[in-house]
């Protein structure tokens, strides 16, 4: 029932955005739909906490990891929808976008959220794959939203690279089905079917297909070397869409990888998948750290920071033990903080009209609240105490230091490099001396509230984990 409410409210919001020409109506319905999604997701999560799993019918199931992701999708989705209204009003005041574009935007935004919910709640690996493919379709149009050549370039790159990745993921998914041939199952296949028949999977096949799945969905996660679409797409999409792409979509794709990891681990033990996650994690952090240091565009900077954080999450799951607990928490913190950072980046873009770091100077004097939020977000994302990412990085590194000391030490050095590189850019943007005179103006409450709320939430979860969150995380650790 709850999922039906989620899908129907988002579908209605999309439909109204397509057929109505009244902007206020489109905006109101989208916000109401986001609130409904948030409410229904909370109900689903509470059912998962009490029953261990939410099973409305054979086609849908939400486990603890799915419930965590549902909460993230609904929470960031709500913040992004509220922010989008104020953001697009500013953009239309400048004459950048018209009503037609805005209608398309809200239709695609609601569709994007709906397919992400479908991806985490579907009980079938193929339905999950279809949902991830559908995110490509909806977001490609959002990335090319500004209809500029550079936006088209980003969208095409995104389409081609992700399509290759997802076709490889489809191929891998298909090969997991060979385990079912042994027992003669050909009907509706669920994650549960694959898990219970994992032991029938030929170990040699299991290794090859996990590589296909990891490369395939890893493309969507943004793991190096399949990451090349990510900085382009995140930098060219409107800021609220970048927030959803970075803060939510990467995690959604990651949990699909984790579900296949669980199946593979049952077939051949955890060593193989852990090794691969460590390798991809290591390269992701390495490449991101080096590029962050020399980055010239603040939206690309945030995109590379996402690659770094996905790499750290992969390392957490690769190291195992306490690393898994830390990686799950890391996913949550990263979602909240990175979305907030992209939203503050949107405020900076609205004021300065540029995404080049060199053109953003003295933000503290021009847009002080945004500048402070950006700075707080920077400290949070790079893992400065007392923010949760400090703890998660510490736990991941402590999980790795005994079994993989060289990799762990290298990781510590690279995260230090990320901090220095990011700090260099952030302090210049916030405190640097402005070249020309940029008029200070009052900042819109609705452009401040969403990123502020996300940062407050991230801070709250950093110092206190409510019992429901602990139960969900404990369940995830026992399953993955």
């Amino acid at each position: 029932m709850e999922l039906l409410i989620i899908f129907s409210s988002l579908f209605i919001a999309s439909l109204i955005a397509l057929i109505s020409k009244r902007r206020a109506l489109i905006e109101t319905v989208s916000v109401i739909a986001s609130l409904v999604v948030f409410g229904a997701s909370t109900v689903i999560a509470s059912k998962v906490v009490s029953a261990g799993e939410y099973l409305p019918n054979v086609y849908f199931s939400v486990d603890s990891l799915g419930a965590l992701l549902l909460l993230i999708i609904s929470c960031v989705g709500l913040a992004v929808t509220v922010y989008s209204i104020a953001y697009l009003r500013k953009e239309s005041a400048k004459g950048v976008v018209g009503l037609t574009r805005i209608r398309q935007y809200f239709a695609l935004l609601n569709l994007f959220v709906a397919v992400m919910v479908l991806a985490v709640s579907s009980s079938s690996p193929i339905l999950a794959w279809i949902s991830i493919e559908a995110t490509t379709l909806s977001t490609a149009f959002l990335i090319s939203f500004y209809n500029k050549p550079s936006a088209m370039e980003a969208a095409w790159k995104y389409l081609i690279i992700n399509s290759i990745g997802l076709l490889l993921a489809f191929f891998g998914t298909l090969l997991y089905f060979t385990s079912l041939q042994t027992v003669g199952e050909t009907g509706f296949t669920t994650w549960g079917n694959l898990l219970s028949n994992a032991t029938y999977l030929d170990p040699a096949v299991a290794k090859i297909v996990f590589i296909f799945v990891l490369i395939g969905y890893g493309t969507k996660v943004g793991l190096v070397p399949m990451h090349t679409w990510l900085p382009d797409a995140h930098s060219k999409a409107p800021a609220p869409i970048s927030a959803l792409l970075s803060g939510v979509l990467l995690n959604v794709a990651f949990i699909i990888v984790l579900r296949f990891k669980a199946i593979t681990d049952l077939a051949i033990g955890p060593d193989f998948s852990q090794k691969l996650l460590i390798i991809f994690g290591l390269f992701s952090v390495l490449v991101a750290a080096l590029i962050i240091f020399t980055q010239k565009n603040y939206k690309r900077l945030l995109a590379y920071s996402s690659i770094e954080n996905m790499g750290i999450t992969a390392l957490g799951f690769g190291f195992g033990g306490v690393g898994i607990f830390a990686a799950v928490l890391h996913l949550i913190y990263h979602s909240l903080v990175k979305s907030a950072l992209f939203l503050t980046a949107g405020n900076i873009f609205l004021k300065y009209g540029s995404t080049k770091i060199a053109k953003i100077r003295g933000a503290i004097g021009v847009i002080p609240v945004t500048a402070i939020l950006f700075l707080v977000g920077f400290f949070a994302i790079t893992g400065a105490p007392p923010f949760g990412i400090f703890l998660t990085k510490l736990l991941i590194f402590s999980a790795g230091i005994t079994l993989h000391p060289v990799i762990t030490i290298l990781m510590i050095l690279l995260t230090a490099l990320v901090f220095v590189g990011f700090f260099r850019h952030a302090q210049a943007m916030v405190f640097g001396k402005a070249e020309g005179e940029i008029k200070k103006e009052s900042e819109s409450f609705w452009l401040i509230l969403p990123p502020l709320s996300l940062l407050v939430l991230a801070f709250y979860f950093s110092v206190y984990q409510p019992p429901f969150l602990q139960i969900l995380i404990d369940n995830v650790i026992s399953h993955y």
Partner: protein, 215 residues
């Protein structure tokens, strides 16, 4: 259908991908893609004759309408409207391209992939050839500069995966058939909308002209 006929059809699929690597003319590429899709349709139809699955028949009819008729017709209209007679060049030169194709075909037939190509032991040769088709389709996407050729590469990759699924005996699952259908529709939407948009913005389908996004 006899195994030799299936082998012949898969051979057509493989050769059409090789042709897509070699040709410089867009019209020829689109026609050959249509032939490739027709071969896949016949391979799937053979599977229908064995399983009598009505949903599979629906998938076959959809592939026939969308991939064999609609997609090529759309691409040909695009080529005629924008006078896109010749495709943009490749990143690797022709001899190097052929060497890479030979290497990847050999790689697909190597012991490394025996676990995959022996999923159905009787279809070992067919599965190895399907896997080669998957690999060389990937190279087609990466090596070509034209957006149209890249789109044809993705669609060929899709066809190759379908061929592999059929010979691995996996095509009977309705979920997989839904997956195939969704992919067809999404790529037809992408190809029709984005290729026209690229031409409008860049006056060409040459993706090497897209250079504004770099670190």
């Amino acid at each position: 259908m006899s195994i030799s006929l299936l082998q012949f059809l898969l051979g057509i699929v493989f050769l059409t991908i090789i042709f897509l690597h070699l040709t410089r003319k867009n019209f020829g590429a689109v026609v050959v893609y249509g032939i490739q899709s027709l071969a896949i349709t016949v391979i799937l139809f053979n599977s229908f004759l064995e399983t009598k699955s009505l949903f599979l028949l629906f998938v076959i009819l959809t592939i026939l309408i969308v991939k064999v008729i609609l997609a090529p017709v759309f691409f040909i209209r695009l080529i005629k409207n924008h006078e896109l007679t010749f495709s943009a060049s490749t990143y690797l030169n022709m001899p190097l391209t052929l060497i890479v194709l030979a290497v990847f075909t050999a790689f697909a037939h190597s012991d490394k992939f025996l676990p995959l190509t022996n999923i159905v032991f009787a279809h070992h040769a067919l599965l190895a050839l399907s896997l080669s088709a998957i690999f060389i389709s990937l190279i087609l996407i990466v090596n070509r500069k034209s957006a149209l050729s890249q789109a044809l590469g993705v669609l060929s990759l899709e066809n190759s995966i379908v061929a592999f699924a059929v010979f691995a005996g996996l095509e009977q699952s309705p979920m997989l058939q839904i997956g195939i259908l969704f992919d067809i529709f999404s790529w037809i939407i992408i190809a029709t909308v984005f290729i026209s948009m690229i031409y409008r913005h860049f006056g060409s389908l040459d993706t090497s002209l897209m250079k504004s996004l770099k670190d």
